[in-house]
């Protein structure tokens, strides 16, 4: 173990390189750039032996990853915001083709107007592509999640691409210490990559040709089953990684002071991290409130949310908006509770466009909700 004091992007790059992908294909976009620049530095120092393809667009980045993965190689990429949106078609393609590509996405605002700060509308708008989606809250979690992402994506009962999300600047450009295990630990944990399927001249097969409705429906059903399988594998892989690295950041959710909580806050990404301080402050004043930080939104932790709903009133903070409805997490939490719990749930939209969300802001939202003064869904800080 060594301590690496560096930004989220550079720690993500370190994890990606230590997973030893054979192919990385990426296109630069702020604020992902320092991640791919770090990989380029590993290439220059010959510490990364794989192919690094500097493609001409994110669409081609994902297409090249699809080609490399289909040819049987472990594959990694990284993007952000508009880059992720440009990939959209190929995100569906990668998942339907059942290719275990791992990608870091730096959550950034979508334009217009141009804004490079954090919100999660980019990845939230990709929920239906079939990708597994993690949201990180610290640089240590970024490192550990990237490694776990390869293990999960490549598992024979999953074989789906995995997106590891980290919030722009708050994580991507902020230095925090992370414990980096020995290369051997990562090698042993991931094992040799054995592709589930590949383009093979000794077994010539046509992949992705025209398919009738009956077979196609089975393809979708198999993807759904794989996502369900991931629900049981994510906790197992997290615990296995803890055994070898000592680090554990939760399963599908991370629970913080939830045992006796009468109110439970649900949040993702950096707000999820900041929320711990807010919980500490509120606990000091005797409030029975806990935090369930959502690490994984696909597969959605339905059963876990129902348990929380049966225990406490829920407060949800979304750094995204499904325009015309409400925050995506809030919406999905309520869908999970339908017919299972009649608990009260309130949802806040906060921090869009990169607006800072401090622990005091989080406390204000929670207290308003706990006092019963909040509408079912509210926008926090619009007047500010």
């Amino acid at each position: 173990m060594t301590i690496m004091m560096d930004t989220g992007n550079r720690i993500a790059a370190k994890a990606a390189v230590m997973a030893k992908p054979e192919v990385v294909a990426a296109y630069p976009i702020t604020p992902q750039t320092t991640l791919v620049e770090a990989i380029a530095e590993y290439v220059a120092r010959k510490e990364f032996k794989g192919e690094y393809i500097c493609v001409e667009s994110e669409h081609s980045a994902m297409s090249a990853c699809i080609g490399a993965s289909a040819a049987g190689s472990r594959t990694f990429t990284a993007t952000s915001s508009h880059g992720l949106l440009l990939m959209h078609e190929m995100l569906h393609w990668a998942a339907l083709a059942r290719l275990p590509i791992v990608m870091c996405n730096i959550n950034r605002v979508i334009g217009p107007g141009w804004n490079i700060w954090v919100d999660e509308n980019d990845s939230i708008s990709q929920r239906d592509t079939g990708w597994i989606q993690f949201y990180c809250s610290s640089n240590q979690e970024i490192f550990d999640t990237v490694i776990q992402a390869f293990k999960l994506a490549e598992h024979e009962n999953v074989v789906l691409p995995v997106m590891v999300n980290l919030n722009a600047f708050i994580l991507s450009h902020t230095s925090m210490p992370a414990q980096i295990p020995e290369q051997q630990t990562v090698d042993d944990f991931l094992g040799k990559y054995i592709p589930h399927w590949k383009l093979d001249i000794d077994n010539p097969t046509t992949f992705g040709n025209i398919i009738g409705p009956a077979y196609y429906e089975k393809v979708r059903w198999a993807m759904q089953k794989a996502q369900q399988n991931a629900k049981t594998l994510i906790p197992k892989i997290a615990k296995d990684w803890k055994k070898v690295s000592g680090y554990y950041h939760g399963d599908l959710l991370e629970y913080y002071h939830c045992e006796d909580a009468e109110h439970i806050l649900l949040a993702m990404g950096a707000i999820g991290a900041e929320s711990k301080t807010a919980i500490d402050e509120m606990r000091k004043t005797g409030l029975k409130i806990g935090l369930a930080r959502v690490r994984v939104i696909r597969p959605f932790p339905t059963e876990e949310i129902i348990k929380l709903g049966n225990q406490a009133d829920l407060i949800v903070i979304d750094r995204n908006i499904s325009v015309g409805l409400e925050g995506a997490l809030f919406n999905e939490v309520k869908a999970a509770l339908y017919g299972q719990s009649d608990t009260k749930a309130t949802g806040f939209i906060a921090g869009l466009g990169g607006k800072d969300v401090t622990y005091q802001d989080i406390e204000t939202m929670c207290r308003k909700s706990m006092k019963g003064n909040a509408k079912e869904q509210e926008w926090y800080g619009l007047e500010g």
Partner: protein, 303 residues
């Protein structure tokens, strides 16, 4: 290369789902004969996705990866990088795309892959339309041609994709036509043995798309070359050579036939002849073709 020297092995199997008289299958069959079984093909949305047949069947005896319309060259880049990492440099990676996937929606990924010096062969089979979607105009559709989106005939001349490719200064680029099997085999074989990006465009007259009889596919290709509406050439390390009749036309050893001799057999140009001859547009086609060849001579004729 003589016809008798063309390999007998087939990688395009019988019973594929192509239209009768399909030029793409003629091209595919020859290309795969030249490349052999150590080939991986990347196919974007195009007629070949249909020719492959319906899952779980296939008409290909080599591994094929289908990919989205604009993504053939990028997908092939990934396949090539992975094979290189695995030490499988004995396998030829080929992208096989139509003119829509090459001239239009796929040009960015193609240009990127050429600029990155990807070691692969990109083959465009050019039937001058979006035929798989039902005959819509593409950047390769010639002036005056009817398509379902140019109902009165296309108002613009086609782009010169070959010359766009030449601007990338890749080790090998060529134009050929399904009517010349030896030319296809010789150009594909040459490309297979050159390291780096290779581009080959195969002219592919499409009976249902161009509205001619399905037994005239080969003849339509020959007439296109004879009239200078299409040209056969290869460019190796920036040295340009016109081939076959195109060479004779370039060197003015034979005159090109009027383009009219080619288009009069095609229903897509029927409105230029009936109910009466459209002299203005017919003249524009011949004048444009003359100017095209004069420019070819200025650029490529060795003195």
């Amino acid at each position: 290369m003589a016809l008798k020297d063309i390999p007998v092995d087939e990688c395009l199997l019988q019973g594929n789902a192509a239209c009768p008289g399909c030029p793409a299958t003629i091209g595919l069959r020859l290309v795969l004969k030249a490349l052999g079984k150590k080939t991986i093909m990347v196919v974007p949305a195009c007629c070949t996705a249909v020719i492959e047949s319906l899952y779980p069947h296939t008409s290909f005896d080599i591994p094929v990866m289908n990919i989205a319309f604009e993504a053939a060259a990028a997908g092939a880049s990934g396949v090539e990088a992975a094979l290189r990492q695995q030490g499988r440099t004995d396998i030829t990676v080929v992208a096989w795309a139509g003119d829509g996937g090459t001239y239009d929606i796929g040009i960015q990924a193609l240009s990127g892959a050429l600029e990155r010096r990807t070691n692969f062969i990109y083959i465009c089979y050019n039937n001058q339309i979006y035929s798989n979607t039902g005959i819509q105009r593409s950047g390769a559709t010639p002036y005056g041609a009817w398509t379902t989106t140019t109902v009165g005939g296309k108002d613009e001349f086609r782009k010169e994709m070959g010359e766009i490719i030449l601007a990338h200064h890749i080790p090998y680029a060529a134009q050929t036509c399904i009517s010349y099997p030896e030319d296809i085999i010789s150009k594909i074989t040459k490309a297979k043995n050159i390291h780096g990006p290779k581009y080959i465009e195969i002219f592919a007259p499409c009976p249902p798309g161009w509205r001619f009889s399905m037994d005239k596919t080969v003849e339509m290709g020959r007439l296109a070359v004879d009239s200078g509406a299409w040209s056969l050439w290869e460019c190796e390390n920036d040295v340009m050579t016109f081939n076959g009749k195109s060479k004779l036309i370039l060197e003015k050893k034979i005159p090109r036939k009027p383009v009219e001799e080619w288009i009069k057999y095609q229903g897509r140009f029927g409105h230029l002849f009936k109910p009466q001859r459209d002299e203005k547009r017919l003249k524009e086609i011949e004048d444009y073709t003359d100017r095209l060849w004069e420019r070819y001579r200025k650029c490529y004729l060795k003195i």
